[in-house]
């Protein structure tokens, strides 16, 4: 059984088509959705989190159909979700807020619920601020609170929308560690527009652009797409899709190399640029 299976999902908001015939699968481990802002990542993740129903297409989560209310409830009992802009009751303390979500997750026994709240607070390193009001926390700490509530009940499917957005480098590294640990033994689907996060965490990537899936495969397979299409030069090449001056003064060019150019090893970011910079290019690798 594949934990997440989305087939032909289409979703429009007014005249904007957020998802256009999207196929997506994810299983045990960390899978990433990569794409620019407005690409459709959040719409797809909200679908996987059972919050949104597609206009067309089928969705199967943990072997169940989220369109059926009883099965949707069963999925939600095994699901953790961190929305892109996770809201908080800012007057609540960290403990009280996580406890509030635990109540919504049907943890009725007070003692057992508090044990679980303490567990996820410890997992996310929030013990020292457990009694603090959320409005007094930094953005990074609030993101941890969001992750803590998503981890309640040890869910089999964890959906994280831009988990590292707005974090400083140290916080991002700490988050990577937490997500990596969370990905052991369960299915984690996350979105990001940070290629480094995806490269560091994900065993499988889907690149989404303008509501369509442009690539599905491993980070290595995506990087390989840019082989021979990245080169250094003393100046910006006119044929380059993107070029920037590096620290040593040379230009890193990404695109169609001119004759005689000497390719350098591409990165995931180079391949991503090539893909979203050329929407007509659609690649599906294994």
């Amino acid at each position: 059984m594949t934990a997440v299976r989305v087939i032909g999902a289409t979703k429009s908001f007014g005249r904007t088509r957020a998802l256009d015939d999207v196929d997506f699968e994810a299983d045990r481990g960390v899978s990433g959705l990569l794409g620019p802002n407005g690409a459709g990542k959040t719409t797809l993740l909200r679908t996987v989190a059972t919050v949104l129903a597609p206009d067309r297409g089928t969705v199967s989560l943990l072997g169940r159909n989220p369109d059926r209310p009883d099965e949707r409830t069963q999925i939600r009992r095994r699901l953790g979700y961190l929305p892109q802009e996770a809201g908080f009751h800012r007057g609540f303390t960290v403990f009280a807020f996580v406890d509030y979500v635990a109540i919504l997750k049907e943890m009725t026994d007070r003692r057992a619920r508090h044990d679980e709240v303490r567990r996820v607070i410890a997992l996310t390193g929030l013990e020292s601020v457990s009694g603090k009001r959320i409005r007094a926390l930094s953005g990074g700490m609030r993101r941890r609170v969001g992750l803590a509530q998503a981890l309640l009940g040890d869910p089999e499917l964890l959906v994280l929308d831009e988990p590292t957005a707005g974090l400083d480098p140290e916080q991002r590294l700490r988050f990577r560690e937490m997500i990596s640990e969370a990905g052991e033994g369960r299915t984690v689907v996350l979105s990001s527009h940070q290629t480094e996060d995806v490269a560091a965490l994900c065993t499988r990537i889907a690149v989404i652009h303008q509501g369509r899936v442009r690539f599905v495969g491993t980070p290595g397979a995506l990087t390989a797409q840019a082989e021979g299409r990245v080169w250094m030069d003393a100046q910006r090449a006119p044929t380059a899709l993107a070029a920037w001056r590096t620290g040593d003064g040379a230009y890193r060019n990404v695109g169609d190399p001119p004759p005689g150019a000497e390719p350098v090893a591409p990165t995931l970011e180079d391949a991503y640029l090539l893909l979203v910079g050329r929407p007509e290019l659609e690649v599906v690798a294994s």
């Binding site: 909200r46 989190a49 059972t50 919050v51 949104l52 129903a53 209310p69 949707r72 409830t73 069963q74 939600r76 009992r77 699901l79 979700y81 929305p83 802009e85 996770a86 809201g87 908080f88 009751h89 800012r90 007057g91 609540f92 303390t93 403990f95 009280a96 406890d99 509030y100 979500v101 109540i103 919504l104 997750k105 049907e106 009725t108 007070r110 003692r111 508090h114 044990d115 303490r118 457990s130 009694g131 509530q149 959906v159």
Partner: protein
């Protein structure tokens, strides 16, 4: 190091939690100073009981002090989980309640100067609770709506809990303001059934419309009907004894509709649009 040690029987009863506070305090004072007796206690104590006590202590230490509202609800016998859900209702915040109290008090006081404002009070009083229900479910005002949608908790149950909380807090405010009205005493409560009716109809319409839209439609219909009637001086036609029976019948009908439509309503509230 003391030469005196606890009697093994005392240790056994202490470990089982079977001694009185005085003996317990005495035993604890000795245990703090005597490693031999602590060792004897360690071999006697029930591991499960010790774990349970530790959990209770940790719970007491970790659990932050509950807010005023949650403590009040606990005193009224509401369980802690429901109290927390109620405390998270956006419209149970001070500014919202103060705004309702302020508007109604102003109109009630102003009615002493101009009795035509009596009708205005009756028209706007039911809108306080109704607006509270709408705001409690406005997606922009409930910061945790997205997280809540992905949980298994029933959206209908949450709607009803929050609606009850809004009514319980806003109705007394409106009643208090109503008592300041000039004229017959029945006016202070004449808006009550219409308020419950409007809220019930709005809840029933939620099976077809988003909560905010349902409340908006009901409020608009209420204003259209009441403003012209009250302006024409037919206040009793809407709030008199006969009219109250009609409101009661409408409350019952909306309640029955709500019960009958609870499944589609649950489905509708379970997802974003």
């Amino acid at each position: 190091m003391t030469e005196w040690h606890l009697d093994p029987e005392v240790v056994r009863h202490y470990a089982a939690g079977e001694v009185g506070p005085a003996v317990a305090a005495s035993a604890e004072a000795h245990l703090m100073a005597c490693a031999a007796c602590r060792g004897q206690l360690a071999s006697t104590v029930d591991v499960q009981r010790a774990a349970a006590i530790w959990r209770a202590v940790a719970d007491r230490v970790d659990m932050p002090r509950r807010g005023v509202l949650e403590r009040l609800l606990a005193r009224l016998g509401v369980n802690d989980a429901t109290a927390r859900l109620v405390a998270a209702t956006p419209t149970l915040r001070g500014p919202w309640l103060l705004a309702i109290a302020g508007v109604l008090a102003f109109v009630a006081v102003a009615a002493h100067a101009d009795e035509r404002l009596l009708g205005v009070f009756l028209v706007i009083a039911p809108l306080g609770p109704l607006g509270g229900v709408a705001v409690a479910f406005a997606s922009g005002l409930d910061p945790t709506r997205e997280i809540g949608l992905a949980t298994p908790y029933s959206g209908l149950r949450l709607l009803l809990i929050r609606t009850a909380a809004v009514l319980v807090t806003t109705v007394p405010i409106a009643v208090a303001a109503g008592l300041a009205l000039p004229g017959p005493a029945w006016l202070a409560a004449a808006w009550l059934l219409p308020a419950v009716c409007l809220t019930s109809v709005a809840l029933a319409l939620t099976a077809r419309l988003r909560p905010v839209v349902a409340v908006g439609a009901v409020a608009a219909a209420w204003l259209v009907v009441t403003v012209t009637t009250v302006l024409n001086g037919h206040t009793r036609a809407l709030f008199g004894a006969g009219a109250q029976l009609v409101w009661l019948a409408l409350v019952a009908a909306a309640g029955l509709w709500l019960v009958g439509r609870r499944n589609p309503l649950t489905i509708r509230l379970g997802r974003s649009s």
